[in-house]
């Protein structure tokens, strides 16, 4: 006969594929269950990657995009500066033709009293009407451009008609400013569509300076280059001239926001990968079973001359086939899921980003990522079983099975035990190693699980015999026969339940943290908030006039405010919050983890003192007494850390509290973005609130809340947001449930003949059902026990890690989470057993006995 060197000819591969398909279709139920695991993981990853990039691009498009001038320069922190000296230095640079100072800023509009139609935010761009036209040209489609003596005149893009059709030449409309409501008149329209997510309003520089209470300041320099000059080279020359305090404004976007969305994308993808990982677990389990089940077939193939590689390839092809099918279905489901997300989120997005295209579009990257991960997971899961299939001896075709499990389980116990030991040391060693310890603990449990099956089954089966006196022992024996499979099933359940406990612990720890922070932080009578708190980038606050007017009210005893600027430390952006220590301490305080209130607040006013938030201190690796160099509008300034403390609104951000005097001196900022008031004792609070609201009528960007009420609302919405964490745990529990279902089904398929014998010797259908149910229960209890251990360790590690980011939360044993996990684990097992138990009970005795 013909002989060939290669053992993997096309004909051979073709035949293997054919066999793989037939084997898969021969066990339809099992194939479906195993494939579902891949489908789930792929769908999740695909949906996430279809949805989030589209949203990211929406965010990006909503951010100010610079257009017009050849070059734009801004201060590194985005802070305003006096333009004269910078302008003269810039125009002296070779290749620069002209330069003009611009003050531009986008802010969120209040939801009431907005006459700009459906615009949610706007960008005010203050221009020197003469100077700017030496830098760039404006094409006017209607009316005129700004003139030097304009006051209250606005030019806006013609495209705004889409948002606010009522606007026309001569329209006079109100707009919030930091000095109260101001009125503007439309004098012209530019022939541009404009970024309708944040429409630009062009005004005279002096008008914008007045609106932001920044007289004489600009925050960008627009520059045109001489004809023939190299723009990049000129930009570099300008930046070299100005030093590190200035950057190319074209590179400035709202990178914080983009980074946040990107982190979200990564985190969601991690969960997709985790789900896929659990899916791979299931495939691994199934294929291991397949290899054991087909031992005779494989050995026979070896006996008639198949090489090890051919046998390995055959199993790999089969897992790949399953991966391909699962991935394809997963893509379809993922697209559906994304479409669903879009339709749910679409309405919300359309109100925020009107007239932006919001369509689900297939992108190659998302498809590629889902396909690669899906196939990789199935191949990887098939690899080890395939390799062990290749090791099948041809003699196995002739002799009965003798599986030596003791050695394998013992070594898994030893290795797992060592890992767990190391992880416990790491958990107890301190907060820095705690998270690593928690993850290692979980890993150690997975490794040790096969060795724990027999002792655990022995430990829990007496419990089981309470309900299943006769069937319990049989169930235990069945589990012990396949410790590897039982271990993997229990491990998937363990991961799901551990995540559940962790989430419960984290949510309750956050609750405690919020309570503590709000206790020290919300001691005022009234809190006056802008449209968004915590992140003030797009907030247009108020100048001193608001506070003065509020303090002038007879009902008000003390007023204090928060001011805001953006800075950076070694390239990491930092929010700078300005407080007046004397006033602030009368209405609120901070929760200190290093230093104490009295000395820290006093130190803010002597020189440059700073109180850092916990996250800030851990991100920048700073301690009490350290010095930190902040990038300011006037170059770098050194501040001393006089305390580490949090308030409820900024505990989750990288922020630093400094005195308002320093904020004004170093950042040119005098704008209040948040105010707190204390009433005179025994004031009629309702009347007082009415008086406050009357003042706020001129500042519609602000809303006044009685602090107690606001605190309750904030805690409610925050806990609701943290409740989202639970949905993550649910996502992880789905593959765990699939795993249980899968294992129980496989166990029954494998024992079809035995079940036939049980029935033949007189076992009732009910008894068969009870055997399966008790087996499921034992698995569920086993998985829950592992999950509780892992969950407690993980929550201990992660909450310990809270303190490293400056959140002081005591570790509280997650009792509720543990109880929930046990209940969920056992219920899940019972639920998963319903179908397999029924199908086992329904088996036809004769056919079961003939089953191969």
């Amino acid at each position: 006969m013909t002989t060939t060197k290669s053992s993997l000819q096309p004909a051979t591969l073709g035949q293997m594929t054919r066999m793989g398909l037939r084997y898969l279709s021969g066990r339809k139920l099992r194939t479906v269950l195993t494939t579902l695991a891949i489908v789930f993981g792929v769908a999740l990853i695909f949906a996430i990657n279809l949805t989030l990039p589209t949203m990211m691009s929406l965010f990006n498009s909503s951010l100010s995009v610079y257009g017009g001038a050849d070059i734009a320069i801004a201060s590194a922190t985005g802070a305003s500066f006096t333009p004269e000296e910078i302008l003269s230095r810039v125009t002296a640079v070779e290749g620069v033709s002209a330069a003009s100072g611009v003050l531009r800023r986008q802010f969120t509009l209040p939801s009431v009293g907005n006459e700009l139609g459906s615009a949610n935010s706007v960008e005010l761009i203050g221009l020197d009407p003469t100077g700017i036209q030496t830098v760039r040209q404006f094409a006017i489609s209607e009316g005129r451009f700004l003139q030097p003596d304009d006051s209250g005149a606005v030019v806006m893009p013609a495209g705004i008609a889409e948002l606010a059709p009522a606007l026309g030449l001569g329209t006079r409309f109100p707009l919030i400013s930091s000095t109260g409501i101001r009125f503007y008149t439309i004098v012209g329209f530019t022939a541009e569509q404009g970024n309708l997510a944040v429409p630009p309003l062009y005004m005279a520089l002096s008008d914008v300076q007045a609106a932001f209470n920044q007289p004489g300041l600009v925050n960008q320099i627009e520059i045109s280059v001489q004809p023939g000059a190299d723009r990049t080279a000129v930009t570099d020359a300008i930046l070299a001239e100005l030093g590190s305090g200035y950057v190319n404004a074209a590179g400035l976007d709202n990178s914080d926001l983009v980074a946040t969305v990107q982190i979200g994308l990564t985190v969601m993808n991690l969960f997709g990968v985790l789900a896929l990982f659990l899916g791979a677990f299931l495939i691994f389990n199934t294929f291991r079973t397949i290899v054991i089940e087909r031992r005779r077939d494989l050995a026979m193939l070896r006996a008639i001359g198949a090489t090890r590689r051919q046998v390995t390839t055959m199993i790999l092809i089969e897992s790949l086939l399953q991966g391909i099918i699962g991935t394809l279905i997963g893509l379809v489901f993922g697209y559906g899921l994304a479409a669903l997300l879009f339709s749910v989120l679409g309405n919300a997005f359309r109100t925020y980003f009107p007239s932006t295209h919001f369509e689900l579009s297939l992108n190659f990257g998302a498809v590629a990522m889902a396909v690669v991960l899906g196939l990789l997971a199935s191949l990887l899961a098939g690899y080890f079983p395939a390799r062990s299939a290749g090791k099948t001896s041809p003699l196995d075709a002739m002799r009965p099975a003798a599986v030596n499990i003791n050695r394998a389980t013992r070594s898994s116990l030893i290795i797992g035990g060592i890992l767990i030991g190391v992880s416990i040391v790491m958990l107890l060693a301190g907060t820095k190693t705690a998270v690593g310890g928690a993850v290692l603990f979980l890993f150690g449990m997975i490794v040790a699980a096969p060795g724990l099956v027999i002792p655990m089954a022995r430990l829990f089966s007496p419990l089981l015999t309470l309900w299943f006196a006769r069937e319990g022992d049989l169930a235990r024996g069945n589990l012990q026969r396949q410790p590897g499979r039982a271990a993997i099933t229990a491990s998937t359940l363990m991961i799901g339940l551990a995540v559940l406990i962790l989430m419960a612990a984290v949510v309750s720890a956050f609750g405690i943290l919020l309570e503590r922070l709000s206790d020290v932080n919300f001691s005022s009578d009234v809190i006056i908030t802008p449209p968004s708190i915590g992140v003030y980038t797009n907030v247009l606050g108020a100048d001193e006039s608001l506070m003065q007017r509020l303090e002038a009210l007879p009902e008000v005893e003390t007023a204090a405010s928060l001011r805001y600027a953006l800075s950076s430390v070694n390239g990491t952006s930092v929010n700078v919050l300005g407080i007046d220590p004397e006033r602030y301490t009368q209405v609120a305080s901070l929760a200190f983890s290093q230093g104490d209130a009295e000395t820290a607040f006093a130190a803010l006013t002597s020189g440059r003192g700073a109180i850092m938030t916990g996250i800030g201190a851990s991100t920048l690796n700073l301690q009490l007494g350290d010095e930190v160099v902040l990038q300011t509008a006037n170059g770098e300034q050194t501040y001393t850390i006089v305390g580490i403390g949090n308030d409820i609104m900024s505990f989750k951000i990288n922020a630093v509290f400094i005195s308002q005097a320093n904020l004004a001196a170093d950042f040119n900022k005098r704008e209040d973005v948040l105010l707190m008031l204390n009433y005179v004792p025994d004031t009629d609070e309702e009347a007082a609130l009415a008086a406050v609201n009357a003042v706020l009528a001129d500042y519609p960007q602000f809303t006044a809340h009685p602090t107690g009420q606001y605190r309750a609302e904030l805690i409610n919405t925050t806990s609701a947001a943290f409740g989202m964490f639970y949905s993550i745990a649910v996502l992880i529990l789905i593959p765990a449930a699939l795993g249980l279902l899968n294992t129980l089904t496989i166990n029954i398929l494998e024992r079809t003949r035995e079940i036939g014998i049980v029935r033949a010797v007189g076992g009732s259908r009910k008894q068969v059902r009870r055997i399966v149910t008790s087996e499921a229960l034992l698995l569920g209890i086993f998985g829950s026990a592992l999950g509780v251990l892992a969950g407690v360790a993980m929550s201990y590690g992660f909450i310990g890690a809270f303190s490293t980011i400056g959140w002081d939360v005591p570790y509280i044993f997650p009792a509720a989470g543990v109880v929930a996990a046990i209940i969920v684990g056992v219920l899940l097992a019972l639920f998963a057993s319903v179908l397999p138990a029924r199908s086992a009970a329904k088996l036809d005795i004769i056919r079961a006995l003939q089953y191969e």
Binding site: M1, T2, T3, T4, S6, S7, Q9, A11, T12, G14, Q15, M19, R22, Y23, G26, R296, D297, M300, L301, R302, A303, I304, G305, A306, T307, R308, R309, Q310, S393, P394, L395, A397, M398, E852
Partner: protein, 248 residues
Amino acid sequence: MTILRAEALTKMYGSASQPIYAVRDLNITIAEGEFVAIMGPSGSGKSTALYVMGGLDQPTSGHVWLRDQDLTTLPDDALSRVRRESIGFVFQFFNLIPVLTAAENVAMPMILNGMPRKEALERAHTSLKQVDLADRATHRPSELSGGQQQRAAIARALASQPAIILADEPTGNLDSRSSDEVVQILRNTVDQYKQTLVLVTHDPRVAAHADRIVFIKDGRIVDENNLKGAGSAEQIREQLSRVALSEG
């Protein structure tokens, strides 16, 4: 001409201090076109001897030559190739792949060898005709009777025109009528195609068809009988019980 030769073949289990010999210092020569039956009581080592001679198992010591190739020195891949190309196996449990049709099962060794599917299936059909199973070519094993399955397995062994066929209790799992059919087919392949055949059995009626019977006890050859295909089952049964009762 000698096809297969085993020399001082030993297969030992257990530890060196407490050895258990399945095969002990066995020497045998199989000539081309010869039909040899190996008989012996349970546990005598007859199947182990067959597996070692067929390259399914490695001996503890000794050599097996297939024509001029020493199987005991070959690496696994080369040994697989020898099994694929030069040896045909028939087992007690018919060992067909359940998801493949009879023809596909027969074609499997050739397909494993890289032969195009169509050609391999054609050859398989020829082989199936030889065992009188052509009309069942597209049936799966579960749709065939025990005797038919064993005939398909024999067709598989024949299809690659191996140098030798090794059969381990091929009738052990069959009723007497199917058993007769199978033995008759095996005898025919020897007579018509000069096929060399070594068969392990404990059934004297099967062994009676062989040219020569080798009796094994405790891993050693203890007796031989040259029947030239004309022995009586009664006579063989007597000889077998004598071997079983003799002191090892």
